[in-house]
Symmetry: C2
């Protein structure tokens, strides 16, 4: 691994940016296909590099679940290659003119979609992010600078070199992707302040990583956050549907940001809903923690504390809050949610609209599971993360969210009076 400085990485990224800015879709797609071929061809080399990381992780007594995140297999590398091929098939977002209008003075002013420029990705120990993040950023005409976790540095380097070789083969600048191999905290801090070269930082990982990046970065950050997601069961809900949706949102996959963590239930239906729901949740041994009103219905419900309302369990645990009307439900959810995904189960038209309008979150559902909040389910063909901030992008970030715009103005000699 070379001893190139962060400053040099930034300069080279800027040079590559000028090439990618005007690169036609056909050449980008060819490069993505070639990169997929190279990943398959270099499989042995990548697996060897990954073995070095995995061995070191085991020596350092990394917990098995984390070792599994780090581990690459032939199938996982094939998946990375297939991911790049799928990105090649997606429509290129660059160059679309979002609007064009003629002003009274004859100026024709249009707004055109362009790449963001240089995107910095700071991530933890999943080596597949290296190829996935490159694929999406590159397709949208962006250069990426990656700073992966220390644990995965050999794997990330092997993948990055493979992708760079593919770029060279396609007569494109290899600096369209670069990896910061110095995984020290000092270098990470400098990277977060590399405003001269980096247009945006996207942290991908746990809450701690994201908090650090938001706290320290001077480069603009897109925050991809945690999900303390609620389902509110309205008085008029179809209870069969409610039970199915809650069961799905809570248990279909527990460790993900769009899983349901908290149930909010109208007091008039708690007696009918809760016993049936608890029966169903027993299939997956879900622990339920509720307020007094819910515990008066089911003795199986443990006592919830104030802390429970704000907790993203990522586990087989569900909190239950009883409310006397939809306004109380909306106020409770807006107080404790993390701006991710929230759902109402109702048959009432007015309440569905009230919930859609009143809830402040990236995705608000009527009569569906919160588990649909992701780029594939939304039809974006992929995603770089789910933004829980309101600036630039909110919700699943696909190719369009990796772009900016510029105004293009056609004149014929106009001057300002």
């Amino acid at each position: 691994m070379s001893n190139i400085t962060l400053e040099e990485i930034g300069q080279r990224a800027k040079s590559a940016e000028a090439v990618l800015r005007v690169l036609p879709a056909s050449r980008k797609n060819k490069a993505l296909q070639t990169a997929a071929d190279y990943l398959m061809a270099n499989m042995k080399m990548i697996l060897e590099a990954n073995s070095a990381d995995v061995d070191e992780a085991k020596e350092n007594n990394m917990p098995p679940a984390l070792v599994d995140r780090l581990l690459l297999t032939e199938a996982r590398i094939a998946q990375m290659a297939e991911g790049l091929r799928q990105i090649a098939e997606l429509e290129d977002p660059i160059g679309e003119v979002l609007s064009m209008k003629q002003r009274p003075n004859g100026l024709l002013i249009g707004q055109k979609r362009v790449p963001l420029g240089v995107i910095g990705i700071i991530y933890e120990s999943r080596p597949n992010v290296t190829a996935d993040a490159f694929g999406l950023c590159f397709k949208a005409g962006n250069v990426v600078i990656l700073r992966g976790g220390k644990d995965a540095v050999h794997s990330n380097y092997a993948i990055t070199r493979t992708l760079q070789d593919a770029l060279l083969k396609c007569e494109l600048p290899q600096d369209a992707i670069s990896l910061i191999t110095d995984t020290s905290h000092e270098t990470a801090e400098k990277f977060m302040r590399l405003n001269d070269y980096v247009d945006v930082l996207i942290p991908r990982g746990g809450a701690g990583l994201i908090r650090t990046v938001v706290e320290r970065a001077t480069v603009p950050v897109i925050e991809t956050g945690t999900g303390n997601c609620h389902i509110y069961v309205d008085e008029s809900a179809d209870l069969d549907m409610a039970v199915e949706i809650i069961f799905n949102a809570k248990t279909q996959r527990i460790g993900v940001c769009n899983a349901c963590e908290s149930l909010v239930v109208h007091e008039h239906i708690k007696d009918k809903l809760l016993p049936r729901l608890l029966q169903k949740l027993k299939e997956k041994h879900v622990e339920v923690r509720g307020d007094e009103a819910s515990r008066s219905v089911c003795s199986d419900i443990l006592s919830a504390t104030e802390e429970d309302w704000g907790t993203e369990y990522l586990d087989y645990i569900l909190s239950v809050k009883t409310v006397s009307d939809i306004d109380e439900a909306i106020a409770h959810i807006n107080k404790y949610n993390t701006g991710h995904s929230e759902a109402i189960i109702t048959k009432d038209y007015g309440n569905s609209q009230k919930f859609l309008d009143g809830i402040d979150a990236a995705a608000v559902y009527v009569n569906a599971s919160t588990r649909f909040t992701d780029g594939f389910e939304f039809g974006f063909g992929g995603e770089i993360g789910i933004s829980t901030q309101k600036l630039h992008a909110r919700g699943p970030m696909g190719l369009k969210e990796l772009t900016s715009t510029k105004y293009i103005i056609y004149g014929n000699g106009q001057v300002r009076p």
Copy 2:
């Protein structure tokens, strides 16, 4: 002025946010009209408060140009009121559904425009910003927290109280606008890190203020930057048009971010263009600083240094760089520009397209003056500033740029397989 803490201001802003999020346009427009009436009715009180600021500024030997920025007159207050009335006439951006598509599983997924939430504005000594910023933010459904300059604190307080009274009259939360009257640096620093309550910070002022905010804030910032704007005169340019446009972009108003600071000229036309241009620029006593090639044409041109290429003069000074082709022009501009406004003067179709694609800036012009980059000229009816960053908003920021989106999803019982 009250001793309310920043934390309390934040909490109150959040309460007001819930009301503004769902406020219909008719009520917002009524409040803006009422606010305009109140500004006119409170004119005497506002002028008295302003006198206190102006007297203090004079005692502290503030330069006359800055005292003038601080000064309010009956006409200037009437302008502020008129500005609010104009904003009331603009179309409400909130609620627009940008797209809605049905997924194969029947989910109907739409993207709806919603307010950003709580917007923090940090500005210097122009008291009119208090009303202008409130008007645009409020119309887009946002709460504003203002932190104006120390010099203008009495004026800002008088204007804020007037706007708050108008809100109360309209039975709306007065906390839709609040002013931080503690103008200490410590409080400003805390404000920039008030992530629990503030969704975005917009600094409005000089380069120093903007740098400080970008450097210190943990709240997401929209950078409104400086403009080192270029005009490139291509080999095929209509020289009459070139002279008119350069004269306009340089001299129509010198202290603004979209004024032309640097001329880039194709070497084949420098002999024809420069003498005519210099003749015209003499009308306004513009000093011209150029490279060797340009000085060989006109002995009036002073010698430019490397520093000139990167300088935003905001004065009757223009730098001149000679290039041998359009590629060199694009490379030079992309190296030294600040991402604001850049123009080409040409008759050549291919070069016009190449320039529009290749230049990395918020606004790229063909055959027109760079002075058009502002929200009024672009037809937005107003602007809160001109963004020179690529995240969220680029170019003039009108009402739409003060919004976010959320996904609204209509289901009928969908769960994720």
